[in-house]
């Protein structure tokens, strides 16, 4: 299985596991389908490389002097300090909270552990900008770095909790027993035997949170904390396609690449799979004793902050707004447009992922791995960079496409490509290549065989990929704001414009609709992480 880490508001980083049980076909001269499919996949990759090409092109166009003048100025330094300190404060706090929470819910005798496990994942259903909307209306003075870190930790800790909890569930208790038998104190056992085993999940979770912090616009704009992304959007809204915004985008892409490289380096190459044969034992849960009550308080407090406050705030605004806020024509229009965008965007995304998904199952090679990496990298780029690249390209090269749905759907497809790829890949891997060959022996052309047999059998995966992408698109804010045709009103953009006018009550129904739309995804991720652990 692949590692899936989720987010209803922004993006999702998916990385194939090293030990992926995907069948490896023979090498040698390949069948005649491959060139066509390879061509299609290469076309998608060319589109996926567009944002990177845009950054490079802008740098060349602008020239070194102007670039340097735009990059090395106090404003950029300020943004860099803000962004770096945001990441440096948020990630460690999330690690501590998530590991503690996961240890308590997975490996300790805690009353209501299953409920708390649910509550730890549930904040995923609340888009990050709704989280900060809730907090700013409870604590109007919330702003700056401390505010940003506080809301980010609440909004993004589930990204850390999910992989850490899954890893803890899979961990072989024999390792802990061995450490204990060698005379280590329980606390020392945790530090020496358990924590190193969590390294992969912590690295993965940190990368995910880091990329979200770089990409998020709504959360930080709401509490007036400037990051690269908010600065780019502000620049864009004041001067459209100015070189200043483009240069900032270049720095942002660099920051993303640094994060990716850092995570790859920290992840290391050690073996974490079980050595030895036989099935792992079911982990024993530790008794908490006198610590039970403080532990319960800790879990409850976190749930209240991350879940209780936003939900109560929403309820309060809805009650306070009364009948005035239920303008059904507006809400109905936004809802139907959101669903339409989400479905159409998801269809584009999944169709774009199909050639690569098929190739990565049927024809593994070095070229295929490079192409696949390009599919994944584009999902790590902030929506603002993708949007800016598409704005520039359409304005300069294909003006009729500027601010059209086609461009918007292309942006969605690029941002959510990894999500679609993962589900498709897994279900294509379950359709045996023998069936494709049988269809060809019965007179189907290779293309017909793939389409009529493999893709037909992969239909459930297609549906799952579409659902995952659709739920991501439903809450997308940044790219939609920048790319959508005039007059577009989705739930996210309506919520955004209403809350920007400080009409928090009127924004509440839209926030509620987004939370409800995100619930299925949260449910899916929760059950899926249980399945991966085999329980």
């Amino acid at each position: 299985m692949n590692k899936v880490s989720p987010d209803p508001a922004g993006k999702l980083i998916i990385r194939p596991d090293e030990a992926d049980p995907v069948s490896t076909p023979r090498s040698g001269r390949t069948e005649p389908t491959f060139p066509t499919v390879l061509g299609l996949a290469a076309f998608v990759v060319a589109l996926a490389l567009l944002p990177l090409a845009f950054v490079g092109w802008i740098a060349v166009q602008t020239g070194w002097e102007t670039s340097a003048a735009l990059i090395f100025r106090p404003r950029v330094g300020e943004l860099l300090v803000n962004t770096v300190s945001l990441i440096l404060c948020t990630i460690p706090a999330s690690i501590v909270l998530a590991v503690a929470l996961a240890w308590l819910t997975e490996r300790c005798v805690l009353p209501g552990a299953r409920l708390f496990a649910w509550l730890a994942v549930a904040p995923l259903a609340i888009p990050a900008f709704v989280q900060s909307y809730a907090w700013i209306s409870v604590v109007p003075g919330l702003h700056g770095l401390s505010g940003g870190v506080f809301v980010s930790v609440l909004a993004y800790t589930p990204f850390m909790y999910l992989p850490v909890a899954a890893q803890l569930r899979r961990l072989d208790p024999a390792i802990e027993d061995a450490a204990a038998a060698l005379g280590d104190h329980p606390w020392k056992v945790f530090v020496r035997a358990v924590l190193p085993q969590l390294r992969l999940s912590i690295c993965g979770g940190s990368l995910l949170i880091g990329l979200h912090l770089l990409a998020e616009y709504g959360l930080f704009a709401m509490i007036r904390f400037d990051t690269f992304t908010t600065a780019i959007v502000d620049q864009f809204q004041s001067s459209y396609n100015g070189p200043a915004a483009n240069m900032l985008a270049g720095v942002l892409v660099l920051a993303c690449l640094v994060l990716l490289a850092l995570e790859a380096a920290l992840r290391g190459r050690e073996r974490y799979a079980r050595v030895g044969s036989g099935a792992a034992m079911v982990p024993v849960r530790h008794r908490l004793g006198r610590l039970t009550v403080p532990s319960l308080l800790f879990c409850t407090l976190l749930a209240c902050l991350a879940l209780g406050v936003p939900l109560l705030t929403l309820a309060r605004w809805i009650l306070a707004g009364g009948e005035r806020i239920w303008r059904w024509d507006g809400i109905g229009f936004a809802l139907s447009e959101t669903v339409l965008f989400a479905l159409a965007g998801a269809l584009c995304t999944t169709l774009a992922a199909m050639p690569m998904a098929w190739l990565s199952v049927r024809a593994t090679s070095r070229l295929q791995r490079i192409l696949e990496a390009c599919h994944y990298y584009v999902g790590a780029l902030p929506g603002v960079v993708v949007a800016l690249a598409l704005v520039t390209v359409t304005v300069r090269v294909a003006l009729p496409l500027y601010q059209t749905l086609a461009t918007l759907f292309l942006a969605y497809a690029l941002m959510f490509l990894p999500r679609a790829l993962v589900g498709l890949r897994a279900s294509i891997a379950q359709a045996p290549v023998e069936l494709e060959q049988a269809a060809m022996a019965l007179g189907r052309t290779p293309f017909q065989a793939v389409w009529q047999v493999t893709m037909r059998l992969a239909a459930p995966g297609f549906a799952a990929s579409m659902a995952l992408s659709a739920m991501g698109i439903a809450n997308e804010l940044t790219a939609t704001l920048m790319l959508a045709p005039n007059g577009t009103r989705t739930l996210a953009t309506e919520f955004w414009s209403l809350s920007s006018e400080i009409d928090y009550a009127a924004a509440a129904p839209y926030a509620l609709a987004m939370v409800l739309l995100s619930l299925p995804l949260t449910l899916f991720l929760h059950t899926r992480s249980k399945q991966v652990a085999g329980r």
């Binding site: 023979r26 040698g28 069948e31 005649p32 045996p432 023998e434 049988a438 019965l442 007179g443 059998l457």
Partner: protein, 356 residues
């Protein structure tokens, strides 16, 4: 008339040579079995004939049309070959009717009739037509796979270990039924298998592959009784190999003087005989001591029901002395087994084969 003609075919996967210089001719309307241990390249050969893969060297021609050579190849969907694989590879999302009809024209007016005819041919009830593959037993699935492949009237039918996933009783019945259907339809067919008994009973021609090369090809009886190579002899069944001196059209060996199947110059040679050529008669010990050869002492008896294994220490008969130097294992009927330690006379029926 040669229908399928394989000339000097070679195939490499990276640094590994899977097939090398294969030459094989198949007569129209006959059944050929390709046998060999796993890794000998037999499945690769089948893939090349089917068109799932293309040879690096050599050429393949079906009915006079070259379908693959070094430069070009006809892809599988234009070759008109039928393929039946080990697990049948039925489409799980289609009913039995649609599986069998997959290769037929969707708008053909006699489609239903053809499908029913095929069901009948492979001995399946028409009532199963609306079921899904997973509702059928393994044997029934293989019958459907065969019917599906027959539907397009293939020029060549390729069978890739189609019986090996079935249990033994069913395997034999399926083999017979398949051979019967192929004989009735007159389709040239090639069976790949690692089971020599299956190959011997199914085919009219056998090709033995070894390490990617064609070791030997010929009729089942020829290869079984008169193989050219030692490893072929051992692969196709149990064999007793003994050193012998050839003289006057007879082989002189530890079993006495035996008639041979070919006239060869008098030299030292290795002879091969099959265990079923040997019959045992219990004799008193003094006869064994004095006889002119072909005696043994029972060292071990392994009871196996219908066929039991008797291990004998051979008696080199030099008058007056009894020396046991060599042991052979013989299959014997379960009734009237000689007890361990007793002496037996060894009678060989039919000529023995001289290996070069």
């Amino acid at each position: 008339m040669t229908f399928l003609c394989i000339r000097n075919v070679g195939k490499r996967y990276g640094a590994v040579s899977a097939l090398d210089g294969i030459d094989l001719d198949v007569t129209a309307g006959t059944r050929t079995a390709v046998v060999g241990p796993s890794g000998s390249g037999k499945s690769t050969l089948l893939r090349l004939i089917a068109g799932f893969d293309f040879p690096d060297t050599g050429s393949i021609a079906i009915d006079g049309e070259t379908v693959a050579d070094e430069s070009a190849g006809v892809p599988v969907h234009r070759r008109a070959v039928g393929v039946v694989t080990q697990d049948g590879a039925l489409f799980p999302h289609l009913s039995i009717r649609d599986n069998i009809g997959f290769g037929l024209d969707r708008r053909a007016p006699d489609r239903e009739q053809v499908i029913r005819g095929l069901m009948d041919m492979v001995d399946l009830q028409a009532g199963m037509l609306d079921r899904r593959p997973h509702e059928l037993s393994g044997g029934q699935q293989q019958r459907v796979a065969l019917a599906r492949a027959l539907a397009r009237r293939p020029r060549v039918m390729l069978l890739d270990e189609p019986f090996s996933a079935l249990d033994p009783g069913l395997r034999e019945a399926m083999r017979k039924a398949t051979a019967e259907v192929l004989r009735a339809t007159g389709i040239t067919s090639i069976l790949v298998t690692h089971d020599q008994a299956e190959a011997l009973s199914f085919a009219e021609q056998i090709a033995v592959l070894r390490d990617g090369r064609l070791a030997e090809a010929g009729s089942p009886a020829d290869l079984y009784w008169r193989p050219r190579r030692r490893d072929t002899a051992l692969f196709l069944g149990d064999a007793i190999l003994l050193p012998a001196t050839l003289q006057d059209g007879l082989a002189h060996c530890v079993l006495g003087r035996l008639s041979i199947d070919a006239r060869l110059p008098g030299i030292e040679a290795t002879i091969m005989l099959r265990p079923e050529q040997i019959s045992l008669t219990q004799v008193p010990s003094h006869e064994a001591a004095e006889g002119p050869g072909g005696y043994g002492q029972v060292a071990q008896v392994e009871f196996g029901g219908a066929a039991c294994l008797v291990t004998l220490s051979l008696v080199e008969s030099v008058r007056g002395t009894v020396r046991s130097e060599r042991a052979i294992t013989v299959r014997s009927a379960g009734i009237g087994l000689p007890p361990v330690g007793s002496y037996v006379r060894i009678t060989v029926s039919g000529p023995v084969h001289v290996l070069k």
